[in-house]
Every structure is written in C-alpha cells, then in structure tokens.
C-alpha cells in the first residue's frame, strides 16, 4: 500500500519537474549564486574589519608600547588618525584613482564619491560580492600603509605634519603603485591586462615595500631623535607591544586570506601559508637572538612574527604552506640582521624599524614570490590554450623573479622619490619636527594636551 503511494508520488513529482525544468534550473542557479554571494560577502566584510583591527588597535598598540611613555598617545594617534582621514580620502577619490580603469599608472575619476559603487558586483575584481564590499575592504589597506611609515619618525614628528605628509604620500605613492599592481589595466597587473606581470597577492609591494622604503627616507630626512643613540630610549611597555603584535597576526588573516576576495579554498591556502610564515619568522628571530646575545626575548619573538607576516604577504595566495614557512624563516633571520646589526652600524634612527621589518621583508617577499609561486595553488592565470600558466621558478618560470624585481624597483622608486617630494611639500606647509623642548616633554603633552597614564586623582 505504502509502496504504491510512494510510486504514485514519484511519478507525479517527475512529471511536475519535467514540465517546469527550465524555470527551476534558473531559479536554482540564482539561489546558488545568492548563497555563494552571502558566504563570500560575510567573509569579506569580516576580513575588512580584521584589516582595520590591524591598524587600531593592533599597530597602535605595537608601536605605542615601543616608544617612551610620554609619547604613547601621540604614537597611537598617528595610527588612529589614518583610520579617520584615509577613510574619507578613499571614499572621495582614492578608490577611483586605484581601481577605476584609466592609464596604466593611475585610475580615472569615474568612481568619484563612490559614484556607481554599490550592491552590484564589479566582475573585474570580485564577481561574487557587492562592489561596495570590495571598496571598503581595499580601503583598510590604504589606512594601514601610511600608518606603518609612522614607525620611522616616531617620537619626533608633529601631528599636523604627519597628517599632511601621509595625505600627500597617498596621492604620490600609494594610489599610483596600488593601481599599477591591482587596478584594471595597471602596468604591473598580470590578471587585468598589465605589461610586466608582478604577482602581489595581498600587498607585499603595494603596502610593505612602499611603506618600508618610504620609512627609511623619512627617518634619514627627519634626522635622529635628540639624544639617539646615547640616551636610553627603552620601550615603555612591551606588554602593549605584545598584545598589538598578536592582534596584527590575527588581523593578517583578513589581510592575506581576505585577498582571495571570496570564502574560497584559495583563502584557506593563503590563511595557512600566512600562519606558517608568522610562526617560522618568530622561531627564526628567537634562534638568531639566542645565538647573538644569549637570550630569546619577547620583543624579538613578536618582531620575528611580524617580519614573517610582512614577508609572506606578497606570495600568500601563490605559495604552498611550507614555502610560506620557508619565506617566514628567511624573513626572521634577515630582518633580525637588518634591525640588530645593519641599522646600528649605519646609524640612522628608524625608531620602530618600519624599514628593517616592512621594507626589507617586503622586498624579500616580492622576490621570493617569484621563486615559490605555483599554479598548483593559484590557477587564475591561464595560457592561451586555457591551461594554468606557470607562475614562479618552481613552475619552471625563472624569469618571474626578474619580473618581481622590476615590480620591486618601481615600488622602491615611488616610495623613495615620492617620500622626498611629500616631505619637502609638507615642510613648505608646516613645521615637520617638534621643537627641542617639546620633544623632551613628549608628544602627548605638547601635541595633544593630555597624558597617557594618570595614576593619581
């Protein structure tokens, strides 16, 4: 009896399906697309928030702990000011200058005031998420990049000068380089019609090379902190730095895995490679420090992790997990040598090692991506016959190391020349350095009129 009823039901069901099949399939396709968009959008909004978390409080705590206590608020404000100011600049024109199709070197102004940037996806960049999500995700990268530079002139730059410089720097350095690497038709973008193919998954060149080399120039042009290196300038709270570094590690999953622009297996791959690199960077720095002066320090361990993270950024979505670990290991040792030995020999005052970690790490990461990038991880680039193109040296494409080198040189050139121009212009508009007495009293009181730590009533 029940079998008969089941058979009758199936018969009806089949005939019903046969009649409305075309409608059902298109409805099904829509439902699948909506479900994928929901999943991808959830991840990308979360990733955007994670990348913002890297600047505040991540970088603010990391840098804030490394300075003397009289400068803690001034240093944290540099990061926070970027969160506020770059957001508005990005919305007004920054997004358009980077991601609108224009010349190979800069986007046009079609997205001025986010004109036309809404719920509909931009198929060129991220076909499954709202264009607005892509816009706000990329905004967070523009926020952290100038905030990173601030580590080079910590404890001595005036607030207004820092804000002016950072604003000019975005237009002269960040927007052109980001457009070249990531924008449609960008000179270095291999996926959207570029001339020289440079693989930069999450901003090794766009973020770390530009900010790191700019930091070096800024440190040299501004000069040392008064009293450096004779007077003690110990970090006032490595506890703050420790918390900040752990937040950077956490936020970096949004930075690197989020750069897959979807909740995809590629995001997972970038996530794992990123994590391995951070771990290996920390291990390498601890070993180097133990061998060099007998103790593995907390500051060393977190510095190594950040070095690993900065270095793997460029290749995160192109390399295998253990290539990521190797990249992190190299980063830990080389950045240690830069910060501990080379910087002190050369005598420039890159106060918080923005160059030693981000510049050197970014440059190595750019070149190492040319070595380790493989189409087993990322098959987005196709040959004319439709099969995945060989990416790095491990795929047999040794020339990619040269291409990455061209990308790095362009990033460095923009960073160095752009910073010189931006700092000179800033100097015409306002006083860049703090007065001697102000520097002695600290940024918190003289620039902001408040103190970070009040333990009395």
């Amino acid at each position: 009896m029940s079998l008969l009823r089941l058979g009758t039901f199936l018969l009806f069901a089949c005939s019903a399906f046969a009649q409305s099949a075309p409608n059902d399939i298109s409805a099904l396709k829509e439902a699948v697309a909506a479900a994928q968009s929901a999943g991808d959008n959830a991840w990308m909004l979360m990733s955007a928030a994670l990348v913002l978390l890297m600047t505040g409080p991540g970088l603010a705590l990391f840098y804030g702990g490394l300075v003397r206590h009289k400068n803690v608020l001034g240093t944290m404000m540099q990061s926070f000011a970027m969160m506020a100011i770059v957001t508005l600049i990005w919305g007004v024109c920054g997004y358009s200058l980077v991601f609108a199709e224009g010349s190979p070197f800069l986007g046009d102004l079609r997205y001025l005031f986010l004109n036309g940037v809404g719920a509909a996806p931009n198929a060129d960049y991220a076909p499954t998420i709202p264009h607005l999500t892509f816009m706000v995700y990329q905004m967070m990268f523009a926020i952290i990049t100038p905030a990173l530079i601030a580590g080079a002139f910590a404890e001595r730059v005036r607030f207004g000068a820092m804000v002016t410089f950072s604003t000019l720097w975005l237009f002269i350095v960040y927007f052109p380089v980001a457009h070249m690497v990531w924008g449609k038709g960008g000179y270095l973008n291999p996926f959207l019609g570029g001339v020289v193919p440079v693989f930069d998954f999450a901003g090794g060149t766009v973020v770390h090379i530009t900010s790191g080399f700019s930091a070096l120039v800024a440190a040299v042009m501004l000069g040392k902190r008064r009293g450096y290196p004779h007077e003690p300038m110990k970090p006032h709270s490595l506890v703050l730095s420790f918390i900040g570094a752990c937040m950077l590690w956490f936020g970096w999953f949004g930075f690197n895995a989020g750069s897959a622009l979807a909740a995809s297996s590629l995001a997972t791959s970038a996530f794992v490679a990123t994590h391995f690199a951070a771990a290996a960077g920390a291990v390498a720095w601890m070993i180097a420090e133990r061998l060099h002066n007998g103790k593995a320090s907390a500051l060393g361990a977190i510095s190594g992790a950040v070095a690993g993270l900065a270095t793997v950024t460029q290749g995160a979505g192109f390399v295998t997990p253990f290539s990521g670990a190797l990249i992190g290991l190299i980063a830990g040792f080389v950045c240690f040598a830069m910060v501990i030995i080379v910087k002190i020999k050369l005598g420039y005052d890159d106060s918080l090692d923005a160059f030693g970690v981000h510049g050197v790490g970014g440059l190595m990461g750019c070149l190492l991506t040319g070595v380790f990038a493989t189409n087993q991880i990322n098959s987005a680039l196709k040959l004319p016959n439709g099969s995945p193109a060989p990416l790095g040296w491990v795929d047999g494409n040794a020339a990619q190391v040269l291409n990455q080198g061209i990308g790095a040189v362009i990033g460095i050139a923009f960073g160095v020349i752009g910073t010189i121009i931006a700092l000179k212009l800033t100097g015409l508009l306002t006083t860049v350095r703090m007065e001697q007495t102000d520097e002695a009293s600290g940024m918190d009181i003289t620039l902001h009129g408040e103190e970070g730590y009040l333990f009395e009533d």
């Binding site: 290196p229 003690p232 110990k234 320090s297 500051l299 510095s303 910060v339 501990i340 090692d353």
Partner: protein
C-alpha cells in the same frame, strides 16, 4: 621617638609586614623606590640596543616608633627581610623631634 627607614627587596614586603604585626607594629608608609648599594646592575637588550640598568627596584618602609620599641622593631625587620644575598637592603635609624596626629592634635608618643 625614632624613625626607622628600611630599604628592602620587593619580595620581602609581606614577610616584613607579618613580622611587624606579630610584635604589634602596624603603622608604616611604604613606597616603591629604585637604587643600589653593592648590588651590580643587569643588562637589558631591546632590538639590539643594550642598556645597563644600575638602579634596581626596591621597597622603602618608613615608620616612627617610641624609644623603647626601637631595638625590637629593627631586629624583627632585619630578620624578616634577610635572604643572605647581596641586595637585601639597609635599615637607617634617626631621632625624631616631634610627631602630631593631624585628626586630633595628639602629640609625640600619643600620636604614634
């Protein structure tokens, strides 16, 4: 009246307070200070920059006691604060001319 001014290791504050409580002394002023006697400093390294730290964290206890209690307080304090290592600290004793309890204007021994 004598003022007892003791510089001790930070970890010895609680043992000293217990020992003083046992003999019935509970008024004192405690501050965190830095200094050194014969104890050598230590080296700190932050990203390759070395600092020699000579001034060590110490705890300073100040209290004023009546003449007849000076010796037992000093002894109890020294015994409780002693580890036998360099850096245990010092105790200084000096005469006090006058004491006033601000609340009710009690004077000298009454004010202690």
């Amino acid at each position: 009246m004598f003022k007892i001014d003791a510089i001790i290791q930070p970890g010895k504050l609680e043992p000293v307070r217990r020992a003083l409580a046992v003999i019935g002394v509970d008024g004192m002023t405690v501050s965190e200070v830095r200094g050194h006697g014969r104890q050598k400093g230590h080296k700190e390294v932050y990203r390759g920059r070395e600092y020699t730290v000579d001034l060590r964290p110490k705890i300073r206890i100040e209290m004023v006691v009546p003449d007849n209690r000076k010796d037992e307080v000093v002894q109890a304090l020294a015994d409780a604060a002693r580890s036998g290592e360099i850096g245990d600290g010092k105790i200084f004793v000096e005469p006090v001319l006058q004491a006033v309890r601000i609340r009710n204007d009690d004077r000298d021994d009454l004010a202690l």
